[in-house]
């Protein structure tokens, strides 16, 4: 597998596999909206902590 042709052939196979089932039907390709909501919650939490610290400390 260390030969360039073998590596590149395996890369081609994997690129095809990524866009095909079962990989394309896995959670990796599901909507990331929940992750974005979670990110928003963390950011808002940090900002609230920032405001609270500035006001109360």
């Amino acid at each position: 597998m260390q030969d360039p042709e073998g590596l590149n052939a395996e890369l081609s196979r994997r690129i095809s596999a990524i866009a095909s089932p079962p990989n394309s039907e896995s959670e990796c390709f599901a909507s990331t909206r929940p992750v974005l909501y979670e990110a928003l919650v963390w950011v808002v939490g940090a900002l609230l902590l920032w405001i609270a610290a500035v006001i109360f400390v």
């Binding site: 590596l7 590149n8 079962p22 990796c28 940090a46 610290a53």
Partner: protein, 494 residues
């Protein structure tokens, strides 16, 4: 070919994907539970550097402000980093440098590559040096000698390098398993330290333990808070090349952000640094080998310090593993066996083993600028992947080094992204110099890292709209799916 032969080949190929740049398919990912990824993130982040950073937090003038500001900053720094670097690597199973080729160009990704290698290799050597100096300091206390034993420090450093190679060559599965023991241990040690602090000094005293005013950076609480936030944001930014390297090993979507922010930010960085900040302010020394031994006493102190130093191994192994994957972006190294790549990465550490004090004096100072390298890169890759490309990359084009590829730009380099990233770095340092703490007036309200991430992302968005799209560069006008350009699977190469 028998079934067992076929399984063995599949296992070998999967192993080579984990140790290289080949995309990792969903079924091959090793982090399948929230806890396993959380423990790796915690263990990775909770190295001696967390104690050192914590020891420096009281210098903002007020320990509580330092702790709260640092927590805010780590979260605000980590979230955009996970979205910019972690999301594309998770979806496509690729290294963050490969993902960054969409915005920087297939050759322009050398800029984040250099930053990534500087981060991983630099911090590996810093942790080797910290471990060696910590062990020498421990021996000095045990032997009650005046000076640390330099030979012992070198032997510990060399032994550490060998241990890192032995564990890292086994791939990510081993450090995933080891983290499940070291991370809870690190948290137990930290809770024990907090318990000792509360038992000896009580909360009212701890909350008011500050450094002497003449040694503080400022007595202005607003500016002190901004410094602490910036320490956290800069720490968060340094995770750009690391987070993607880890999320490509994660199988489930809901295990992405939580373990990163909780493990790396809240537990590994903020909690340990908070206890360190209080301990350092109370005992009067930012050096963890001093205050930890003073607090723990003759038996518990050395035992806890030994565990903390031993747990550094996981951090060094993960850094070396990620550096090994990343360095394969350099084509000649793609074909070199994994064991040899690790030896090449760790070999300069032999010099470090005999110059541990120099590493902590010189390299550590240089690493203060580590977060600066990634403010622009984070802003650009965040906007490029989430907003401009709507989370769709063309895998074929990411691995095609040809003018026919959509990420070719100008000679393989997107000079606009490179320019914006470099300008963001320069403006950051003009706003705030991490080594001298010199800051402009607006730093106290906004910090420097967050505005520069927003600036880089906004500037890149506008330049894509007004320059790249009209020039038909970067594939911004076309749907981002495979097989839609003139390149095909036959053209891809590592």
């Amino acid at each position: 070919m028998t079934d067992s032969d076929s399984s063995a080949i599949q296992a070998r190929v999967a192993r080579e994907a984990l140790d290289g740049r080949l995309p990792i398919l969903s079924g091959e990912r090793i982090y399948r539970r929230f806890g396993s990824f959380l423990w790796t993130c915690t263990s990775f982040s909770a190295a001696t550097w967390a104690f050192l950073i914590g020891g420096s937090l009281p210098s903002v003038g007020n320990t509580v402000i330092g702790i709260l500001g640092y927590l805010c900053g780590v979260i605000l720094g980590l979230v955009p980093v996970v979205l910019a670097s972690g999301l594309p690597s998770y979806r496509y199973g690729i290294d963050p440098i490969d993902a960054a080729k969409a915005s920087f160009g297939v050759n322009g990704a050398i800029l984040p590559l250099l930053g990534a290698l500087a981060t991983m290799i630099g911090w590996t050597y810093v942790v080797v040096a910290l471990t060696a100096r910590g062990a020498a300091g421990l021996l000095r206390v045990v032997q009650q000698s005046q000076h640390p034993n330099e030979t012992f420090a070198s032997v510990v450093a060399l032994g550490t390098l060998v241990m890192v190679w032995v564990v890292a060559r086994r791939g990510p599965s081993l450090f995933q398993r080891l983290s499940q023991y070291t991370a809870p241990g690190q948290l137990i040690v930290t809770v024990t330290l907090l318990g000792l602090l509360v038992y000896r000094f009580h909360w009212p005293v701890l909350w008011t333990s500050n450094v002497a005013p003449e040694t503080a950076l400022t007595q202005d609480h607003g500016l002190g808070f901004a410094y602490a936030v910036e320490f956290g944001v800069a720490n968060g930014m340094t995770w750009w090349p690391i987070v993607g390297g880890l999320t490509r090993l994660v199988e489930r979507r809901r295990h992405l952000l939580g373990p990163c922010v909780i493990g790396i930010g809240v537990l590994g960085a903020a909690f340990i640094s908070a206890v360190s900040a209080i301990g350092a302010a109370r005992v009067g020394s930012p050096d963890p080998t001093v205050w930890l031994l003073a607090l723990g006493g003759p038996l518990l102190g050395p035992a806890m310090l030994t565990f903390v130093l031993a747990a550094n191994l996981i951090t060094m192994v993960i850094l070396t593993y990620l550096a090994g994957v990343t360095v394969q972006q350099l084509r000649p190294l793609t074909r070199i066996p994994w064991d040899v790549i690790l030896i090449l990465l760790l070999a300069p550490g032999i010099y470090v083993a005999f110059r541990t004090t120099w590493v902590l004096d010189v390299v550590m100072n240089w690493m203060l600028y580590n977060g600066v390298m990634f403010v622009g890169i984070t802003g650009i890759t965040l906007v490029d992947y989430l907003v401009l490309r709507r989370q769709r990359l063309s895998m074929v084009d990411l691995f095609t080094r040809s003018p026919a590829g959509r990420y070719w730009y100008w000679g393989g380099v997107n000079w606009i992204a490179v320019g914006v990233a470099l300008i963001a770095m320069v403006v950051y340092i003009l706003m705030y110099d991490p080594s001298t703490y010199r800051a402009v007036w607006m730093f106290r309200y906004l910090g420097a890292g967050i505005p520069m991430v927003l600036f880089a992302g906004g500037a890149y968005f506008l330049l894509v709209h007004f320059v790249l799209r009209p020039m038909d560069k970067g594939g911004y006008g076309a749907p981002q799916v495979n097989h839609t350009t003139s390149v095909s699977l036959r053209d891809v190469s590592l």
